[in-house]
């Protein structure tokens, strides 16, 4: 929309690749629940239409400062989601348990 791009001139779009569509969907659902705290920032999360294992993140803000604050905070949350996926997903936990059982 023309008016929106005037009001929110500072924009950033990220494409975050995940190993598969399941993990991209988990990230989407875990991250989209918390609303942006400021009305000066708009955020849209989706799984990319053409690439189901990509999380698409679109940020728009009134100022570059607001954009930076919002995107930084998003990266903090994204990093946690990725770490939980890497360390605590079902297959990872099962593999760890199996290897611990072998080497008591």
């Amino acid at each position: 929309m023309a008016t929106e791009s005037l009001e929110y001139p500072c924009a950033l779009t990220l494409n975050v690749p995940f190993p598969d569509a399941r993990l991209a969907s988990v990230a989407l659902r875990a991250l989209q629940v918390d609303k942006e705290l400021s009305s000066l920032v708009k955020r849209d999360l989706s799984v990319a239409q053409d690439e189901e294992s990509h999380l698409r993140v679109e940020y728009k803000a009134t100022t570059n400062r607001m954009l930076r604050v919002a995107v930084n905070s998003f990266f903090d949350s994204l990093a946690l989601v990725l770490e939980v996926m890497e360390e605590l997903d079902v297959d990872v936990m099962e593999a760890r348990k199996a290897s611990e059982a072998k080497t008591p």
Binding site: A30, D76, S77, L80, V81, E83, E87, D89, M93, K97
Partner: protein
Amino acid sequence: MMDLTKTPRRIALGLEGSANKLGIGVILHSGPSLSSSSATVLSNIRHTFVSPPGTGFLPKDTAAHHRSFFVRIAKQALAAADVSISEMDCICYTKGPGMGAPLTSVAVAARTLALLWDKPLVGVNHCVGHIEMGRAITGASHPVVLYVSGGNTQVIAYAEQRYRIFGEALDIAVGNCLDRFARTLKIPNDPAPGYNIEQLAKQGGRVLLDLPYTVKGMDCSFSGILTRADELAAMMEKGTGKGPDGEPFTPADLCFSLQETIFAMLVEITERAMAHVGSNQVLIVGGVGCNERLQEMMGAMAKDRGGSVYATDERFCIDNGIMIAHAGLLAYETGFRTPIEESTCTQRFRTDEVLVKWRK
């Protein structure tokens, strides 16, 4: 609704991070029904964000702490509990009340786990978590509850499926008053500012300094007391502070006087609530509940009324994951779920908003 007779063992993971403690625990409920079920702690791991002396914990730094320790603490809690993911029934997280950023950091991880493991999520009221854990550990059946921590001060009694708030702090929480006074005196925040005040207070007691004792009906006010205590500390620093006996007073005397005054206020409103409700049990929960002087003063009052005080130690008093697991599992057993889309956090979430369906 699930058939409880077919699942004699229910297991929940609890994730807490509403303030400066990240707590993760696993609880087991066994027994065929709600009324006859017993709770067993399988693991209860905590890591505290400790800020330097003279400072408090800020939301941003605290959230960063929770994020950086989450996986490590979760692994420890799961390893200690020795349960597999398939045995887990639900994942419980603190919905509120608390500080926004730390709450959200843990909620993000909770949602991720729930989605990865394909488990239902249960949002828990932090205060109800304290109350239910206190009841489970002490066995107090129908107590008046004094909930005292860094962010909350409430006198609570149960009636008709709600924990009703009889009295509360009108301004800052009692623990906040203690924490901030510890900052004034530059007392270390490790292991906890309140603990260090308690230890220092044991060396005081030569004089009781006058502080503005403020009880209004069933409610308390602590900010005026803090202001006066800060003023007295400034006078002490300059060497102009004199006690009622004309002699200079010490930091220990200040800590002693602060504790005696604010705990006396808490005892007063708790006693009045007990008289209203006709109960002679007091259950003290929350971080300040670890304070042995508070337990002693409350015990003396309860004894006079022919009753007794129930309290727990730091494992359960101070914020922890197991209480969130326990209260969450109780709600889960009544059919309560928090859909992922609704699994937000809220800084304000009053104790009496929760329908306590698991009690008669």
